[in-house]
């Protein structure tokens, strides 16, 4: 009576679902009994019957009946599992409570300059819990037009970006240099005070976990930055290593993400703007070269000014205590007017960095990408140990046919934007070929570059680096196939001259 009879043996018969929340079937219950689980509590745990949010209210009576049948017992002797709430039907609204709508569904994090972005027409992108300006369309402007304008300003005049959301960790103690040396893949011990360095962190599996620029504040003191979304995870990861594996290292970590508002300037006029706002720092290229930082004031507010660049342009990042963030942003905005200062969002930031072939950890990497795949051999120190190093020698990590980070250009129509996530194949006629078609890689990032006048994409392609100028194909759902040429991932200013002026 508890189930529909089947002609075939239960394990071969059409599935008879009992608990539709977790897909348990009559066959699963019979299997549990064959495995000698005889108590209904054990049958429950073997099958996961009744584990759903309804706690078995929908399927458990049938399940107990089928179990009794399988056991050759009376259902009263089989009994029920421990009865748990909800005892009566509960509405979804009662479970959701007040956690609905854009303001309360989940935490929303805002920077000190959020209201300014809203007032200047920004559309927002969710990055972690943060709201980041995505782009700032003017009335009547399409997204493409807005991005072209923001990119142009950043390459030819000056663009300003709210970079406050980057994770920031204060690293301090006599062993801080040794600690960073173990965490990052490159060497950190000989870095002078006042300098900045780019580093990547690997998981124990040797895969890229996070990246960022860290600056040496004093002999025993660093200002570390992480990706926006990775900040909490990285801090927990660093604390875990300090507390459980390396308790002998004298290092303190303090999260300072919210303390600093970060105003990032990019473009040939960025120095002119900084000069009007910042005091106490010699801004000349010789005194304040690329990848260094200086203490000074910005609009009278104590500031850490970093000469770093994620755009490939001359760039500065002004960090001030966030309570003064809007005030200093206003001063920068005012100072930049004569140079055509233009606010830009994460989308233009992505375009500018992709033109330079700079990765975004978590977009161009997915937890299966190691530094060699990215061509970052130069960041792997041979003279020290670091987290993940041993995993880089695994047979799979050094396989020659791994996917490697390359650029892609659309061949037939150079303005075609190859969809992000598109799968790449070698066979131009893959749509008609027998399936499955062997995969050759996938697109990780893709944009229209106004600076170059054509589209660009970044991709992971099997043996990509030795296949420059070869063709690969991106079949689309609509049957079209985009023909792509493999290139270097650095599309613009390959010698890096623009950021070093």
């Amino acid at each position: 009576m508890w189930r529909v009879p089947a002609r075939k043996a239960l394990s071969r018969a059409p599935k008879q679902f009992v608990d539709i929340q977790n897909d348990q079937t009559s066959a699963d219950i019979y299997l549990a009994v064959r495995e000698n689980y005889r108590s209904i509590e054990h049958i429950k745990r073997y099958t996961a019957m009744g584990f759903g949010t309804d706690q078995g209210k929908l399927g458990n009576i049938n399940g107990a009946g089928i179990a009794a049948e399988a056991l050759g017992e009376d259902i009263a002797r089989v009994g029920t599992t421990t009865f748990r709430p909800a005892y009566t039907p509960v509405t979804m609204g009662a479970l959701a409570g007040r956690e609905f709508g854009p303001e309360r569904f989940h935490a929303v994090r805002k920077t000190a300059m959020h209201a300014w972005h809203v007032a200047h027409g920004a559309l927002f992108e969710n990055v972690g819990d943060w709201k980041r300006p995505w782009y700032y369309p003017r009335p009547g402007e399409s997204m493409r037009q807005a991005l072209d304008r923001e990119s142009h300003a950043s390459r030819h005049a000056v663009g300003v970006l709210d970079a406050s959301t980057l994770g920031k960790i204060d690293v301090r103690g006599p062993d801080a240099a040794e600690f960073l040396n173990r965490i990052y893949t490159n060497g950190w011990k000989n870095m002078e005070v006042g300098k900045c360095k780019y580093g990547i962190m690997l998981g124990e599996d040797g895969m890229v976990m996070d990246d960022g620029v860290s600056a040496r504040i004093a002999e025993d003191h660093y200002h570390m930055t992480t990706t926006t979304g990775g900040a909490a995870r990285v801090l927990a990861w660093l604390e875990e290593w300090l507390q459980t594996e390396w308790p002998e290292l004298r290092v303190y970590l303090t999260s300072t993400t919210d303390q600093w508002a970060a105003i990032s300037l990019a473009g040939p006029h960025s120095r002119d703007v900084v000069a009007k706002v910042v005091e106490g720092i010699d801004l000349s290229g010789d005194a304040f070269p690329f990848m260094t930082w200086r203490d000074g004031t910005a609009a009278g507010v104590p500031a850490r000014v970093f000469r770093i660049s994620f755009s490939g342009e001359l760039g500065f990042e002004i960090n001030v205590p966030a309570n003064y963030g809007q005030y200093v942003w206003d001063a920068v905005w005012e100072a930049g007017q004569e140079y055509g200062i233009t606010p830009y969002g994460t989308e233009t930031m992505h375009i500018l960095r992709a033109e330079k072939g700079f990765i975004i950890a978590g977009q161009d990497t997915d937890g299966s990408v190691n530094p060699m795949d990215l061509g970052m051999h130069g960041l792997l120190s041979g003279r020290k140990d670091f987290l993940g190093k041993r995993s880089l020698k695994r047979a799979d990590a050094v396989r020659e046919d791994r996917e490697q980070f390359v650029g892609l250009l659309a061949v037939d129509d150079p303005t075609t934007i190859i969809p992000e996530g598109a799968q790449l194949v070698r066979d131009a006629n893959a749509n008609d070929a027998p399936k499955p078609v062997p995969l050759d890689g996938y697109v990780t990032s893709s944009y229209f570059s106004a600076t170059l006048g054509h589209s660009i994409a970044l991709a992971m392609v099997r043996r990509g680096r030795e296949r420059m100028d070869e063709l690969v194909y991106a079949p689309q759902a609509d049957g079209k196939v985009i023909k792509c040429r493999i290139t270097s991932p650095v599309f613009y200013d390959p010698k890096g001259e623009r950021q070093n002026v």
Partner: protein, 200 residues
């Protein structure tokens, strides 16, 4: 810094003269922001008497050693965060001199000190229904028999990490700046049935 330099609380858009004016007279919950309090994050070894002595010389108060407790001094409140971590909270504007004094007093020791004034804002929640409102989003037992003056806790309020401590009247919430807007919106909603006044 000159007085013309403007600080802004993360609640500048929420706590407005209009919002204060719209406060009901018989509100069951009263919210007051104490912006710009001088927060300093301190790390050091409490087993080291030299460290404790140097900190007391600057803060004028002992550091709490008992987990989740607070020591309220004359000029400075010390809040326990972890076995080797505290907030020292001074009045607004004092944070830079606190940091400088700690740096000087602790020179040569292994310690870390950070001005985190801008990292937070401080919200005081009082009124007959303050606890009722908080309990909607906080799983800790906030009843005075379990959580009284002198204690503190790091916990979640809805989806935001906060530090909470009972005051003589009501509670103090230390909220990370970026979450402050969300927390305010959440509190407005949680307290709506009791009526919420926003005061100076």
């Amino acid at each position: 810094m000159s007085d013309a330099i403007r600080q802004e609380s993360p609640l500048v858009e929420r706590i407005t003269p209009e919002r204060k004016a719209a406060s009901p007279a018989d509100a069951g919950v009263t919210l007051r922001e104490r912006p710009f309090l001088g927060y300093v994050n301190l790390r050091g070894n409490p087993e080291d008497s030299a460290f404790l002595k140097a900190v007391k010389g600057v803060a004028g108060t002992d550091l709490p050693r008992e987990p989740n407790t607070v020591v309220v001094g004359k000029d400075c409140t010390a809040i326990w965060l972890g076995l080797d971590e505290w907030y020292l909270v001074a009045e607004a504007g004092k944070e830079r001199e606190t940091v400088a004094a700690l740096e000087e007093a602790l020179a040569g020791q292994h310690f870390a000190v950070n001005d985190v004034t801008s990292n937070f804002t401080t919200i005081e929640l009082a009124g007959a229904h303050a606890r009722d409102a908080l309990e909607k989003g906080c799983t800790l037992d906030l009843h005075p028999r379990a959580f009284g003056e002198g204690q503190c806790a790091q916990t979640l309020l809805a989806h935001a990490g906060i530090l909470i401590r009972p005051l003589t009247e009501g509670y103090e919430l230390v909220v990370r700046r970026s979450f402050a807007d969300y927390v305010f919106v959440w509190l407005e909603d949680a307290a709506a049935e009791y009526g919420m006044a926003v005061t100076d």
